[in-house]
């Protein structure tokens, strides 16, 4: 043991070195090193499941760190729904209250976390594609399709929220700055998304709702086609019709069941969570409360008056299932934690509202039906197409409207947008819908003026590229205008 001091010294020195390495060379969010060597088909499959883990994200109540926690899609409502005219926060405290006022800074923790989470999905997917040859030959095309679906899912989110972003489609090292930090024009990213999703449509199978399926890829691709600067309306229409004609999906009779019967017939793709399991649960259900506070942080997604007015006009029986008035706030009821009862005073929120198990619905059949009408409308202001009006009316009839008396002779773009707003409220569609319908600046500009959000300008339709990424990029990444 006479060398113990040297061993200790070496240990201390190397720990310094490790620390130095981590502190001085933080990995960019858009980087991942090849940290897993897949050796078997099972390993590749486990890797794919790992991508869903990245989408699912870490519950804020499980890991409370504000930095680099990979919340996955659990924070998405802040970046999308609260940046639309639908909702806001109850108080003006903290960076989470910046979204609805269009005051997000480049160092906003939630925005950066989301950016990082999406790249986490992308890099995990790239990693799988890197090791695809390890999988059984019969599974390779299926696994590759699933990885590409997930990569496209993340890029589609990124490109709409942040604009031009780095496009990384292979495993890259932490030092490959050109690949990691070169912003690629959005249209080029869309080309990649379309290529990935077309492969997914061709190779994925029907069946799963909690993992990628053929229908999920078709639905997502249809939305991509509708979103692109030069939309492919006929392509979107065919994809929606393929989903409809598959006969695998149908509208729930009761609107409430869409949200409280997990993986029901209406769900095409959902991210699953598990009640009470700290590693597999979500925090947003509790964050949507304010009057009877359930979350570690809460008072989020408070319903705006002009959405309530829209519900009063065209909500039908959806109104009672979408939000409720607590006496103080209008609060979302689509994702109440399991065991909740809001009919009692005070309401109860079940055994573990902070570890909620409500799934996050990515794509459901009503969305596809309304996209079908949107594709036929093809950018016009109105259509008399009975196919389009049929799809639109199917959604409205479930909401309690009459198939004859309430059927319009013409379906207008405005009516379709409003219908999407109430049908899909609080499901993070509104912001993207406004962009896709080409009215984001007009609607949100008027909304900001009405609410007194003086920071708004059309530049705020894009979020800032996280400052941390710009700092790491050595001058390669530039910031979006207006930040």
């Amino acid at each position: 043991m006479k060398y113990i001091q040297y061993i200790l010294l070496a240990g201390i020195l190397s720990s310094f070195l490790a620390c130095e390495d981590e502190f001085l060379n933080p990995l960019p969010d858009s980087a991942i090193v090849v940290d897993a060597f897949f050796q078997s088909d099972d390993d590749v499959l486990a890797g794919i499941i790992g991508v869903y883990d990245a989408i699912q994200g870490v519950n804020e109540n499980t890991n409370t760190s504000l930095i680099s926690s990979n919340r996955g899609i659990q924070f998405e409502y802040m970046l999308s729904e609260m940046r639309s005219d639908n909702t806001r926060t109850a108080t003006l405290e903290g960076t989470k209250a910046d979204f609805h006022r269009y005051r997000v800074d480049p160092d906003n923790v939630q925005s950066e976390d989301y950016y990082q989470s999406m790249y986490d999905i992308i890099f995990r997917a790239n990693n799988i594609l890197n090791f695809i040859n390890v999988a059984d030959e019969s599974n390779q095309s299926l696994y590759a399709a699933e990885a590409k679906f997930l990569r496209a899912f993340a890029y589609f989110k990124l490109v709409r929220l942040f604009g031009d972003v780095p496009l990384v489609t292979r495993v890259v090292g932490a030092q490959e700055n050109e690949d990691l930090f070169t912003r690629v024009p959005a249209e080029q990213i869309y080309d990649q998304i379309v290529a990935d999703l077309e492969e997914a449509v061709d190779n994925l199978e029907a069946g799963s709702k909690s993992r990628a399926s053929k229908a999920a890829a078709q639905g997502l691709l249809a939305k991509v086609f509708l979103t692109r600067e030069s939309p492919n309306y006929s392509g979107a229409q065919q994809l929606c019709e393929a989903i409809v004609n598959s006969g695998a999906f149908s509208l729930q009779e009761n609107f409430r069941d869409v949200f409280y019967e997990e993986l029901n017939d209406e769900i095409i793709f959902a991210v699953q969570y598990e009640l009470g399991n700290t590693l597999e649960s979500q925090s947003f259900s509790s964050e949507f409360t304010a009057t009877f506070r359930q979350g570690r942080e809460d008072g989020h997604n408070m319903v705006n008056d002009n959405l309530i007015a829209e519900f009063d006009a065209i909500g039908g029986n959806r109104t009672a299932e979408s939000y409720w008035f607590t006496g103080t706030w209008y609060e979302v009821t689509k994702f109440l934690p399991e065991g909740s009862d809001i009919t009692t005073t005070p309401p109860t929120y079940g055994p573990s509202p902070r570890d909620a198990g409500n799934d996050w619905i990515v794509l459901r059949y009503a969305d596809v039906l309304l996209m079908h009408a949107e594709a036929i409308l093809a950018g016009g202001t109105e259509t008399a197409s009975s196919a389009a009006i049929d799809s639109y009316m199917a959604v409205r009839e479930r909401a309690g409207f009459d198939s004859i008396a309430d059927r319009p002779a013409l379906l207008t773009k405005d009516a379709l947008l409003a219908e999407r707003r109430v049908e899909l409220a609080f499901e993070n569609h509104r912001f993207y819908d406004l962009l896709r319908f080409g009215v984001a600046d007009a609607v949100l500009g008027a909304h900001a003026a009405e609410m007194g959000y003086s920071s708004y300008s059309a530049r705020k339709l894009l979020l800032p590229i996280p400052a941390r990424e710009i700092n790491l990029s050595g001058g390669l990444l530039n910031q979006n205008p207006g930040y």
Binding site: A442, G445, A446, A458, N480, G482
Partner: protein, 309 residues
């Protein structure tokens, strides 16, 4: 020792020499860079110009620009016709509908610049209000068609009748007559004007300065005498809202937004549909006025107002 000293000295000289060479060489190298100032770097991030635009909600020809340029600090806008601006986010009022090339030059502090030209489309894409006519099918008798008051006249708007159109308000043929409004010689206007003259009036709010259609059906009996200038049903739009019917009629006679005279006397129960266009006023406050000038019974039903295509 001498030898050894010499060896050290010569080695020392050699080292000194090589050090000098290296030093000079490296100096030479660093002087080779064209650095304008100490520690400055070449700007590799150059401006790129871009913008979006939106028409003002109240005046579509007033276009509000939003600068979306990267990496730039100074802006030069050219709206055509010698109109320019150096604001970040200017507004510009164009002459009317059309497509106008607008050029933005974005410049950074080093003088590097980028230019973009975008064809700005100025068009009126606003959607006109469709007013809802209350009791447009007259199923609810005289309700919602009365003036509040009528100096030297009556606020009674017409005779309620069960001899209205065969069509429902939504156009469905019911196979039976529906309720309607009726005028007779004693309730007629113009040549027959009296304190008994009846006018149907309903105030509407429509989009300002917008083309609309007034639609209604009328029928005139064909079995009697003619009023001076033919038996007729007059339908029109008054410029404004009026409390007193007398003022409304004065305004309508002086300058109506629309006056349509229908004299198709095809007989009781045989309706003619009128679709008459008018342009709303600057306030959007207009009113429907309908009356008869007829020796025989005349009927009106299914009154509608909607934006013209």
């Amino acid at each position: 020792m001498n030898n050894r000293f010499n060896f050290i000295r010569s080695t020392g000289q050699l080292l000194l020499c090589s050090a000098l060479v290296l030093l000079l060489h490296s100096c030479h190298d660093s002087f080779d860079f064209e650095l304008p100032e100490a520690n400055s770097k070449l700007d590799t991030v150059l401006p790129s110009a871009d913008f979006s635009y939106i028409s003002n909600a109240d005046d579509f020809t007033l276009v509000e620009f939003t600068n979306l340029s990267f990496e730039s600090t100074q802006y030069q806008w050219d709206f055509g016709g010698g109109n320019t601006s150096t604001e970040v986010d200017p507004s510009f009022k164009f002459s009317g509908e059309g497509t106008f090339p607008v050029t933005l030059t974005a410049t950074d502090a080093n003088g590097a610049s980028d230019q973009v030209m975008i064809e700005v489309v100025v068009e009126n894409i606003f959607v006109a209000i469709t007013p809802s006519i209350v009791n447009g099918d007259f199923e609810d008798g005289q309700n919602d068609w009365k003036f509040s008051s009528f100096t030297d006249g009556t606020t009674s708007p017409f005779n309620s009748s069960s001899d209205g159109s065969w069509l429902d308000y939504d156009g469905a043929d019911t196979g039976a007559k529906t309720g309607g409004a009726k005028w007779t010689m004693s309730t007629s206007a113009e040549d027959y004007v009296s304190s008994n003259t009846r006018y149907a009036y309903q105030a509407l709010v429509v989009s300002p300065n917008t083309e609309y259609v007034l639609e209604y059906e009328y029928a005139i009996k064909n079995d009697g005498t003619q009023a001076p200038g033919d038996n007729r049903i007059v339908g029109g739009i008054i410029d404004g809202h009026f409390e007193d019917g007398k003022d409304a009629i004065v305004s309508f006679n002086a300058e109506p937004l629309l006056k349509f005279v229908g004299d198709m006397d095809l007989g009781k129960g045989v309706f003619t549909t009128v679709e008459a266009k008018f342009t709303s006023n600057a306030t959007g406050e207009v009113a429907i006025l309908i009356y008869g000038v007829t020796d025989v019974d005349a009927y009106v039903d299914n009154v509608k107002v909607y934006p013209a295509e």
